[in-house]
Amino acid sequence: MTHVAASTQNTSQALLEIRGLHKQYGQLEVLKGVDLTMQRGNVVTLIGSSGSGKTTLLRCVNMLEEFQGGRILLEGESIGYHEVNGKRVRHSENVIARHRAMTGMAFQQFNLFPHLTALQNVTLGLLKVKKLHKDEAVVLAEKWLERVGLLARRDHFPGQLSGGQQQRVAIARAIAMKPSLMLFDEVTSALDPELVGEVLSVIKGLAEDGMTMLLVTHEMRFAFEVSDTIVFMNQGRIEEQGPPKDLFERPQSPRLAEFLKSTRF
């Protein structure tokens, strides 16, 4: 884990650069100009109360949500939209699909494909998006299933796995695609308390390997331990960000102080 703090400074080597991101649903503005920069190897965690825009921000990065203003650059490529004669134009579906493959995402509800085995869930993207040969895809998928401790369950269907196991397969499915950035959207929120640990330890292991990760979580202790930078969001804006120790121990914003108190961290 490299301890390079995320900052709002413009750096040319930044892996992810978000500038002035605006997102609205009809009249409701959910992101009101968000700036965020991540370097390779950074682990950044978004915290904040529900409705603050954390999940929406995460989903804009892989275009699961459209956004109306601002830019997202991932490895220098403009995500979602580009400019043609000064006009903002949405990329073609194929370009968006290619950009999406640059990020991996794990969801709150796992979203494994129920008609495919654990192994097939992981190989699908490798075969159809990465166009790997079947043998190669299987070797890679087995490697990642082993990494999340589920090689023995490779031929099980999602319905035969526990919530924690399903989430670990979902993480393997995303990671096997070798994304340059992993997005984790409240991956433990739907799990029974005793299953949370196994998923968090997988994520921790990935962080130790230097994986660049952007997380949304309510697990404050985990966020504190795993993150280089904590970003506190409030009402569609970044209210405060910095190293976990600073944020948790010396919050500047009264809202963050209040939020931390309410989470009993």
Partner: protein, 220 residues
């Protein structure tokens, strides 16, 4: 003294007409089910994912046909096709009517099954970089088809039953063949029961096939 021939004797002498009627019923049903399913899948996909202007004609088709009795549909195809300068025979007109009927029902079955899938399935597909058509082919349709199967089997048996309406426009399917035999033998009850039994056989076979597929593709 005149002795009336037994039913089995009459059945034997009518075997060719019955067999030919049976085959015609099977043939027009299968054609209508296959073509109707094809139209229905396309219509269902457009109704689920299409933009407004693409959806509009399919919505019109589905609502119009579903609101029309099959009998009227079959007659309309039979009388309207020649009026529109399209020379088709009674069998073709009948199959056309059944196909349109089947297509409109399958369209709604497909739409219902696709819309019942959790939104996360499409999102997870997109998140690993699958294109829309890849997501549809590898993730959504395989799941939707499992859901559709029982309802689709039901619609197919409806088509087999509706195929008897082709008798009105002169297609010698099983019912019309049976009526012709009855007109000759006056064995009304016996031959109608026998025809009913044959229709049951066709539909039971479809149901068995459906159950077999359902079992094979069932998820744990």
């Amino acid at each position: 003294m005149y002795e009336s021939p037994s039913w089995l004797h009459e059945l034997w002498s009518a075997r060719e007409a019955l067999w030919s009627g049976f085959l015609t019923s099977v043939q027009c049903s299968i054609l209508a089910i296959l073509l109707g399913t094809l139209i229905g899948v396309v219509a269902g996909l457009v109704l689920t994912y299409g933009r407004f202007w693409a959806r509009a004609p399919f919505r019109f088709y589905v609502d119009l046909i579903r609101g029309t009795p099959v009998f009227v549909l079959v007659l309309a195809c039979f009388y309207m096709a020649p009026a529109l300068g399209w020379q088709i025979n009674a069998f073709q007109a009948g199959v056309l009517g059944l196909t349109l009927f089947c297509g409109s029902h399958v369209a709604e079955i497909v739409r219902g099954a696709l819309q019942a899938l959790p939104r996360g399935q499409m999102e997870a597909s997109k998140a690993i970089g699958l294109t829309f058509y890849q997501a549809l082919g590898y993730v959504l349709l395989p799941q939707a088809m499992r859901q559709m199967l029982p309802t689709w089997v039901n619609s197919s048996t409806e088509i087999v039953k509706a195929s008897t309406l082709l008798s009105v426009i002169g297609v010698a399917e099983l019912l019309l063949s049976t009526q012709q035999i009855i007109a000759r033998t006056f064995m009304t009850l016996e031959f109608y029961l026998f025809a009913g039994f044959l229709f049951f056989i066709i539909n039971y076979a479809i149901e068995l096939l459906g159950r077999h597929i359902e079992k094979r593709v069932a998820l744990p």
